[in-house]
């Protein structure tokens, strides 16, 4: 039969020679190999203490962005929900009332904004679709949860901390490579 690859090798069924039947030379060879491995560099990363750096294009959990004064950028236009191939995003818009100018940047805002993290495929199309630079994919990954309901993230989980009131949390949420328009 024609061999399928150039690496095909016929099985050798010759009886073992005296040298092979002594086992010891082969064992000594194997043991020198395993001993050599004791001093090899270990590829393990001690995970919770050390993490590997993400690539700059890493797509993790979403954040809803604020502007430099800490106002929400989202206007609930729904373009992200339309762009989403997994249909993971739902939102409800509301009109800004007088006196709320320090909370929302434009006249319309998202009263409710939910992403189902079980449906989300982290493709980043919402990020591309957003005309207001309001949604970004961060470097955090999907954490564990006890219930399915817990994976539906609302505004509470998604909104980035206030840049003026909570600067430390804001910087942490931004991450290293996270581009924001707040600066």
């Amino acid at each position: 039969m024609q061999p399928l690859t150039s690496r095909a090798k016929a099985v050798d069924r010759k009886p073992m020679t005296m040298w092979e039947r002594m086992y010891l030379p082969a064992i000594a060879k194997g043991m020198s190999i395993t001993f050599g491995h004791m001093f090899k560099k270990k590829p393990t990363v001690n995970y919770p203490e050390k993490t590997r750096p993400f690539s700059p294009v890493f797509r993790g959990l979403h954040v809803l962005n604020r502007d430099e004064q800490g106002r929400e950028r989202c206007t609930a236009c729904g373009l992200c929900a339309v762009a989403c191939p997994a249909e993971a995003i739902t939102m409800e818009g509301a009109e800004r009332l007088p006196g709320e100018e320090n909370l929302y940047r434009e006249e319309k805002y998202a009263a409710k904004y939910e992403i189902n993290m079980l449906r989300c495929i982290f493709c980043g199309l919402c990020e591309e679709a957003c005309p207001k630079d309001a949604i970004y994919l961060s470097e955090t990954f999907a954490p564990a949860n006890f219930t399915r309901k817990g994976f539906i993230y609302g505004k509470e989980e998604l909104l980035i901390p206030h840049p003026v009131d909570q600067p430390e949390e804001f910087a942490k949420a931004r991450g290293e490579h996270q581009p924001t328009t707040a600066d």
Binding site: M31, I33, F35, M38, K42
Partner: protein, 357 residues
Amino acid sequence: MHLTLLAIDWVLLLEKAVLISIVISVSLVVAMYETWGERKVAAFMQDRRGPNRAGPGGLFQPLADGLKLFAKEEIIPASSNRLLFVLGPGLAMLTAMMTSAVVPWSSHFELFHRHVSMQIADVNIGILYIFGVVSMGVYGVMIGGWASNNKFSLLAAVRGASQIISYELAMGLSIIALLMVTGSLSLRTIVEQQQTGHYYILLQPLGFLIFLVCAFAECNRTPFDLSEADSELNMGFHLEYSSMKLGFYLFAEYVNVFISSAVMATLYFGGYDIPFVNDASLAERWGQNPVAALQIVSFFVKIVAFIFFFMWVRWTVPRFRYDQLMKLGWKMLIPLALFNMVLTGFLVLLHQNHWHF
């Protein structure tokens, strides 16, 4: 009545009791850290890190493992023979611990004007005693496997028993050749004969090799761990065991590794002798006690080297098939041991009669 009480050397009794408890606790601690060492060695040979969460370098891992085993539910299968089921692990542990009685751990200390020997019992048939006790170890496997009332366990027990019996023959024959050279069965005498630096490995290389292979088989270690072959027999004779009864079996295996390392170091590598140094003249210069302490250290270095060797082999050599195992035992090791015996006898005769070629 009260004369017989006076006649007993109470201090000697106390001394031996202390020594026994020290030896037993040391063997248990060594067995504990062998589990840690085994996992570390395995990990390093496979380019991993091994246990490193519990304590620095994972040093508390054995404690955590022990706690886990104690906390597990104890199950005695309804169809098993209760008495034998409990007896099995106990017997395995007992025989593992008993062997340490005749091993000389060091020369002697001089404490409170007494000559304190670092050997529990210097019986003049030390090697025979070890053989007797080691061959009882097979009962632990056999009884445990049989009492489980489980086909896999029974098969494993039968395999284990036949393996241990086959390899004991070759082991005994290799020891006979050694005994021709030493002319003594007492382990202390054998060690004292090696104090000059002429270790018996130099006189009996083939005998040592046979003894080493048989020691692996006796300890049920890879490449001869047929009695617990996880891939085919599903843990073998301790399949039905849980909790600390399982722990006893695993522990007994590690104690066996420790003791057989000690026996090999004693018989072929000079026991507690400090290499490249004349112990007697060192004792004159420094006094007996520090030298005896150093001898313990030297003995333990040799033992640890052997234990490492056991682990190194375990993580290199795959398990033998059953027919290969039997062929190796009966068709290679026993003829080799017989040949070694005849050769040794010939050379000893030459030496004794000052014959020269």
